[in-house]
């Protein structure tokens, strides 16, 4: 027999647990079954800091509350897929085109084909049928140490495989999506065989085994560990605008170079961050309003000012940092091709021993 006192304690604990559980499910209901269009639910692979201010703006303007979960693109996609038709998510935001294409292929996005969006966003940066729309551009550029390398020695991505750069190049792991998409773009343009030869040449030129992020590559160039690095331009921008004096100093020691700018060249490789509306969106109107909001002038400018990304739309005034880097020619390859060759790219890099 249990003594009354311990019985009471046990009961109280059970009640407490039960109320906790029920508070979870109450929360679940308010989250999941929000039939009101007063809300819109977002799964975002963009980090909270790089999207939340815009969402708050949206709420302030429209009164529509935005609920946010952030995470890795593929994890969010898995969540979306397994939740099926009951998913609470209305909008999926990713930081590269590959995940949007995967979402489309998994059948969790719907074709919006909104005229306004189609008009404002160039065809290269959106899905033909309107399953997803690009929101900002991320350019993969070369940075170099001007004390060691002359600008005129640099030309294209392809040139980085030249043996003259032996032990001079820093680049991060091939697990990184931006390297994968760069290689995908090479496959799309030059074919697999030629790209594979290029990867082998590039790997042979590595100054050190790949490690760390893009900022680390920039720092390594600044510190003299390597002369050249391939990075996304917004990391350099973030370092230049950093409150940390050392980061700023390091960034100032390197120079940005736009690859593939020659007459016959295809232009610098670009990836996008973008958004799509889910197949089973319960708040489709608000969702559409949000995607439109994220592509309006003010939002487009915000990406540049906050994260040094380029707008997908042509008519936007770039930020100070972007202006200083000058104009450049962007690769006009439709970004969905990047997704198409992503697996080939990873396998090719595996074969070449690019860690």
């Amino acid at each position: 027999m249990i003594k009354p006192r311990s019985m009471t304690a046990f009961l109280m604990a059970s009640v407490w647990l039960a109320s906790l559980a029920s508070s979870f499910s109450v929360q679940a209901q308010t989250n999941n079954v929000s039939a009101l269009s007063g809300e819109v639910n977002v799964y975002s692979a963009r980090k909270e800091a790089l999207i939340k201010p815009l969402l708050d703006d949206f709420t302030a303007q429209t009164g529509v509350k935005v609920n946010l979960v952030t995470g890795k693109g593929d994890a969010l996609l898995t969540r979306l897929t397994s939740e099926g038709k009951n998913t609470p998510a209305d909008v999926l935001i990713t930081t590269d085109v590959g995940r949007l294409e995967r979402a489309k292929a998994a059948g969790v996005l719907q074709a919006v084909n909104n005229q306004d969006l189609n008009q404002s966003i160039p065809a290269t940066y959106r899905d033909e049928a309107g399953f997803w729309y690009g929101l900002s551009l991320r350019s993969r550029v070369i940075v170099f140490n001007p004390k060691k390398v002359q600008k005129n020695q640099l030309s294209t991505y392809a040139d980085l495989a030249d043996p003259k750069w032996k032990r001079q190049i820093c680049i991060r792991s091939s697990s990184n999506i931006y390297n994968q998409s760069l290689v995908s773009s090479m496959i799309a343009h030059d074919g697999l065989a030629q790209t594979e030869a290029w990867i082998n040449g590039l790997v042979a030129n590595f100054a050190r085994p790949p490690r760390g992020g893009d900022r680390d590559q920039i720092k390594a160039v600044a510190a003299g560990q390597c002369n050249i690095a391939v990075v996304n331009s917004y990391y350099l921008g973030a370092m230049l605008n950093s409150s940390n004096a050392k980061e700023q100093a390091a960034a100032k020691k390197v120079t940005l170079f736009w690859p593939n700018q020659g007459e016959s060249e295809r232009g610098t490789h670009m990836n996008i961050s973008g958004a799509g509306i889910t197949q089973y969106a319960k708040n489709k109107d608000s969702a559409l309003a949000l995607v439109q909001f994220l592509s309006n002038d003010k939002a487009q400018q915000w990406y540049g000012e906050q994260n040094n990304e380029y707008p997908v739309r042509n008519n936007i005034t770039p930020s100070q940092t972007l202006k200083a880097w000058g104009d450049f020619k962007a690769d006009s390859l439709p970004v969905d091709k990047l997704a198409k060759y992503n697996t080939d790219a990873v396998k090719a890099m595996d074969r070449a021993g690019w860690k």
């Binding site: 027999m1 249990i2 311990s6 647990l17 906790l20 979870f24 499910s25 929360q27 679940a28 989250n31 999941n32 079954v33 639910n41 980090k47 909270e48 800091a49 609920n67 946010l68 979960v69 952030t70 995470g71 890795k72 593929d74 994890a75 898995t78 969540r79 397994s82 939740e83 099926g84 038709k85 009951n86 998913t87 609470p88 590959g98 792991s173 091939s174 697990s175 999506i177 994968q180 100054a207 050190r208 085994p209 790949p210 490690r211 760390g212 992020g213 680390d216 390594a220 510190a223 003299g224 560990q225 990391y235 973030a238 409150s243 992503n342 697996t343 990873v346 396998k347 595996d350 074969r351």
Partner: protein, 559 residues
């Protein structure tokens, strides 16, 4: 033939006799429920092996396996050396600072491996202040001098060893404390010096404890993603993610996870075989032991050995974090920050309580069944999730839970007018279920060790004095297990505080924790900004570590 059928009859009867049926049912139910995520992943083996496998096998698979094995070997050596030597010195000798070191040596436990990795990289990287100073002072360049590369397999081994040795230290120290000093004295009287006494008598006697601590450390190592990914070390875990994210092949990724799981089962089996020998209980009284006070160089040697892990595992990285916090604290501290703290603490507390509760139920059920093979099998099954990377567990929770939700919903839709939507998916319930799946092992380890210290004659006495099994548990076991229960709860608490990938994938809308915030900032390569949530994780983790030590010391005093 006849004998074996008799045996079968005997064991089945002993399982279901004496109202044990109910407890046994509990054990099976818990084991089954908690293994669903793992089974979901393991079932992927049944799916056809895609082309991805041929690619993996011909290119990177061997390096995943070698790196994982090397990493485990390194961490095994590292945690053993640090954990056992510190445990031995603080247990056997008195030297300057011993009383502080006794508990301070547990501090690195509060430091997540990925955070210590950020801190060391910041300081020791080529572009970091130390190497920059070397270059400036000696006017040398890259390649002109040798400096250990922090972001390497070796670096990862050091990072893991520094934060995981406390598991070994904690468990082995307890074993040394409870060891009869008589056996050590016998050894000395037989002409063995202190060194030989240590490795020929004390060490073998503490072997189950050493193995138990190292198993925990190695399982944590296997499950880690953040550190190895940041260091560019391609292990099994990074391979799983690369296969999933890069190759877009979730099935192959799940199959890889199944093989990781196989590794884990192997580890557990090894640990069990070793633990089986720990069936001795301490009968009679133990004389109190007077630590000899060391003099001369010996005491400084002891002091140095014990202070180094603390210095490198906690103090230095904490200073680095603190320096970063000084740079960024204006922007990091706001109301939202305290919400993060509150979220982290309440999640960790709820998960800790539930893990302890379930661990008590499964351990007690197995004990009632006489710890027979069938019961122990179910006990092990319920704790399989520990070494599975959090992301994999999360997927394993996500898929069946969403299927359950959708099933309930469509049943309700077709039979009633009620629309349920997703009842569990995307709620804290899902997050906590995943925590339990992942961390039940931690609480079971502690509580099982506690149970094994209670001789079965204690149960038998209580039963003959008229208590039902539940009464024995509540009136006899739980009071005797107090220390183990608190230790179990605290270990889970610290683990959940540090937990990242599961939370990231399963959490509800607008819900963040300290770990999520630290990760988002760090993965955006804003290490300095990540320092504030990181140090908050560490500081919150300190509270249970401190409590843990107090209960540990209390226990050794009162018995």
């Amino acid at each position: 033939m006849e004998v074996s059928s008799q045996y079968a009859a005997w064991s089945v009867r002993s399982l279901f006799n004496q109202r044990l049926g109910r407890w046994f049912f509990c054990l099976v139910a818990i084991a089954f429920t908690l293994s669903i995520p793992v089974i979901t992943i393991a079932l992927s083996v049944l799916e056809p092996f895609s082309d991805t496998w041929r690619h993996l096998a011909s290119t990177v698979l061997s390096s995943y396996i070698t790196h994982s094995l090397l990493l485990m070997l390194g961490v095994a050596i590292g945690t053993f050396t640090l954990g056992v030597s510190c445990a031995w010195f603080t247990c056997m000798y008195d030297f300057p600072g011993r009383k502080v070191l006794e508990w301070a040596l547990l501090l690195p436990m509060a430091m997540p491996a990925y955070i210590i990795a950020y801190a060391y990289t910041g300081a020791l990287d080529f572009a970091g202040p130390i190497q920059t100073a070397i270059r400036d002072t000696f006017n040398v360049d890259y390649g002109d001098y040798w400096f250990p590369e922090i972001r390497s397999l070796g670096g990862a081994v050091v990072m893991f060893s520094l934060v995981l040795y406390p598991y070994v230290y904690l468990i082995v120290r307890a074993a040394f404390m409870s060891q009869s000093h008589a056996i050590l004295e016998v050894s000395r009287s037989l002409g063995n010096g202190p060194w030989r006494t240590f490795y020929a008598v004390a060490l073998p006697a503490a072997r189950p404890a050493i193995v138990a601590g190292m198993t925990l450390a190695l399982m944590e190592t296997l499950a880690d993603y953040g550190t190895v990914q940041y260091f560019g070390v391609s292990t099994f875990t990074t391979g799983i993610f690369r296969t999933w994210f890069g190759l877009g092949d979730l099935t192959a990724a799940a199959q890889l996870s199944s093989f990781l799981l196989f590794f884990v089962v192997l580890l557990i089996v090894i640990e069990r075989i070793s633990r089986k020998k720990m069936q001795f209980h301490h009968l009679g009284q133990k004389r109190s032991y007077q630590r000899p006070t060391l003099t001369g160089s010996a005491r400084w040697l002891c002091f140095t050995v014990c202070v180094l892990p603390l210095l490198f595992g906690f103090i230095l990285p904490a200073i680095q974090l603190f320096l970063w916090v000084l740079e960024t604290w204006q922007t990091s501290f706001d109301a939202a920050f305290f919400t993060l703290v509150q979220h982290s603490i309440s999640l960790a507390a709820v998960a800790a309580i539930l893990c302890v509760l379930l661990a008590v139920i499964v351990c007690f059920s197995a004990r009632l069944a006489g710890n027979n093979r069938i019961a122990l099998f179910f006990l092990r099954v319920s704790t399989l999730g520990y070494a599975v990377p959090g992301t994999v567990i999360a997927v394993g929770v996500l898929i069946p839970l969403a299927a359950l939700d959708n099933g309930i919903d469509s049943w309700l839709r077709s039979n009633t007018t009620f629309v349920a939507g997703l009842l569990f998916s995307g709620t804290l319930f899902a997050v906590i279920v995943a925590y339990i799946v992942r961390f039940l092992s931690v609480s079971v380890q502690s509580i099982e060790a506690g149970f094994s210290q209670i001789h079965t004659s204690i149960d038998d006495s209580a039963r003959t004095l008229g208590r039902k099994p539940l009464g024995v548990l509540l009136k006899v076991h739980l009071p005797m297990l107090k220390t183990s229960l608190i230790a179990a709860g605290l270990l889970v608490f610290v683990d959940v505080m540090k937990e990242l990938p599961t939370t990231l994938i399963l959490r509800p809308f607008n819900f963040n924790t300290l770990a999520v915030r630290a990760y988002e900032l760090a993965s955006d390569e804003r290490l300095a900004d990540a320092a504030t949530p990181a140090i908050a994780i560490v500081l919150t983790g300190l509270i249970p570590v401190f409590l843990l030590f107090r209960t540990m010391r209390g226990a050794s005093k009162s018995h």
